[in-house]
């Protein structure tokens, strides 16, 4: 099951050229671009691991693409996303976030139904991927 999180996730995967254009848009807006990765695709898993520091003061997307490719070399089997952080007063938050790399095989989620208190049911989703320990989930 294809994980759809952040911008563009209902579109086909972005090509490097398209990623470059998006990153350049972020840089032109003065946002700091971050590279994050994870192997836990649960939608509530908000805080992913960061690849290096947020990249402030860059002018051209080439530098970020280079970092992204370095990240892909190491964590090519995980989800990698780029996010643009707007530091201007009043915003101080992410303005854009999109997935740029995903595992070849995304096993999707299992729905857990917990029967509680009479006939009530609580629902929860668990990714099949997290059945395996961290680091070997998408091998």
């Amino acid at each position: 099951m294809r994980v759809t999180q952040g911008c563009f996730s209902f579109l086909p995967d972005l090509t490097d050229e398209q990623i470059t254009a998006q990153v350049q848009y972020c840089l032109d807006k003065g946002w700091a671009v971050n590279i994050e990765f994870t192997d836990d695709p649960h939608p509530r898993n908000t805080y992913w691991e960061m690849w290096g520091l947020p990249m402030f003061d860059l002018r051209d997307a080439a530098g970020i693409l280079k970092e992204l490719n370095d990240c892909r070399r190491t964590y090519g089997d995980r989800y990698i996303r780029l996010s643009g952080f707007d530091a201007t007063h009043g915003w101080e938050s992410l303005r854009i976030s999109f997935i740029v790399n995903r595992p070849k095989d995304e096993p999707g989620f299992r729905l857990l139904r917990q029967e509680v208190d009479g006939r009530s049911v609580r629902y929860t989703t668990v990714s099949y991927a997290v059945d395996r320990p961290e680091g070997s989930r998408y091998e």
Binding site: R59, A62, G63, I64, K66
Partner: protein, 315 residues
């Protein structure tokens, strides 16, 4: 900046068989930059010639790319050598403009760094630091001033070497994204290249900046004064000609930078002269004019080495 200038030449468009050279030249709007270079930079004939040559080469290269004749991206890394104050930094800034107009760098900004910005202080500090700077310079020009300080042969555990290795790697693998300009004094750069042959071979253009002669220095001084709305009186001009001749023979002479510092001190003395007599009305002419006494009070004339507060390096 026109669209044509902003767009880097891309392969993959349909090849064109003929191109109007004049039109192409005008489209990249490079003539004004070159003219400005001619106008604002005094002397430096060989440098200007060389820059024109490079600009022409790049223009032709650009057309060749449009015709899909060019297969590889030209190497643009440069090295500027010359004595202190000969305009290396200034030319580097202009170079970025030229490269940008021709579409060989995408943004045209200049990141000016020295050893401190590239080399870390402890193990594992250098690589991230250098990479950080390289990332910032992507799409523009990385100007490394006094590049020979990167390499310290006397200390084999110096981290400079690590920085050099990363630089060389990026200079080779990301030629399209980044232009590196090394600058420094001639003899020391020569030594630097000897001990790092990788650099020499990766740098396509070695440009040597000659010293200014006395006339050029006077011209520079007058231009600097004009920019700040000052002017020499006739005697002051005479005195300054003698100042230049005297200053040149003294130690730590650094061409245009010495002139700039001299002018700063002259303005100081001029202000002091004006303030010393408070009971009068000053005109704008008074404020603008520099008299011979302002120049002649310099220690240069009294024979003592005028030790200006310039380090030998670029500030």
């Amino acid at each position: 900046m026109s669209d044509a200038a902003a767009k880097p030449p891309v392969a993959g468009e349909t090849p064109v068989s003929s191109i109007d050279l004049r039109h192409e030249f005008d489209a990249v709007e490079i003539a004004p930059v070159l003219e400005q270079l001619d106008r604002e930079l005094i002397g430096l004939k060989p440098v200007k010639t060389r820059i024109r040559e490079i600009a022409s080469l790049l223009l032709v290269e650009r057309i060749r790319q449009k015709m899909q004749l060019a297969t590889t991206f030209p190497t643009l890394h440069m090295s500027f050598t010359g004595n202190p104050g000969t305009g290396k930094t200034t030319v580097a800034m202009r170079m970025a403009g030229i490269l940008h107009k021709l579409g060989f760098v995408r943004r045209g900004h200049v990141i000016s760094v020295t050893r401190d910005d590239l080399v870390g202080q402890y193990i594992g500090h250098t690589a991230p630091k250098t990479k950080e700077i390289l990332k910032k310079a992507m799409g523009g020009v990385l100007f490394i001033d006094e590049a020979y300080y990167l390499y310290r042969p006397e200390n084999e555990r110096d981290y400079g070497q690590e920085s050099i290795e990363i630089l060389l790697q990026i200079m080779e693998s990301q030629r399209e994204d980044l232009v590196v300009i090394l600058a420094g004094y001639g003899d020391r750069m020569e030594k630097f290249f000897q001990s790092n042959p990788g650099f020499r071979s990766r740098i396509a253009h070695h440009i040597d900046f000659p010293d200014y002669n006395d006339d050029e220095l006077l011209f520079i001084a007058e231009q600097m004064l004009r920019d700040q709305n000052y002017s020499f009186s006739a005697q002051a001009r005479e005195a300054f000609i003698r100042y230049i001749a005297a200053r040149r023979t003294q130690p730590l002479f650094s061409n245009a930078r010495s002139i700039r510092n001299a002018l700063d001190r002259i303005r100081l003395r001029q202000a002091n002269r004006l303030v010393s007599n408070l009971d009068r009305v000053v005109t704008s002419q008074d404020l603008m004019s520099i008299e011979s006494s302002d120049v002649l009070a310099s220690r240069v004339f009294s024979g003592g080495a005028d030790r200006p507060r310039t380090s030998t390096g670029t500030p």
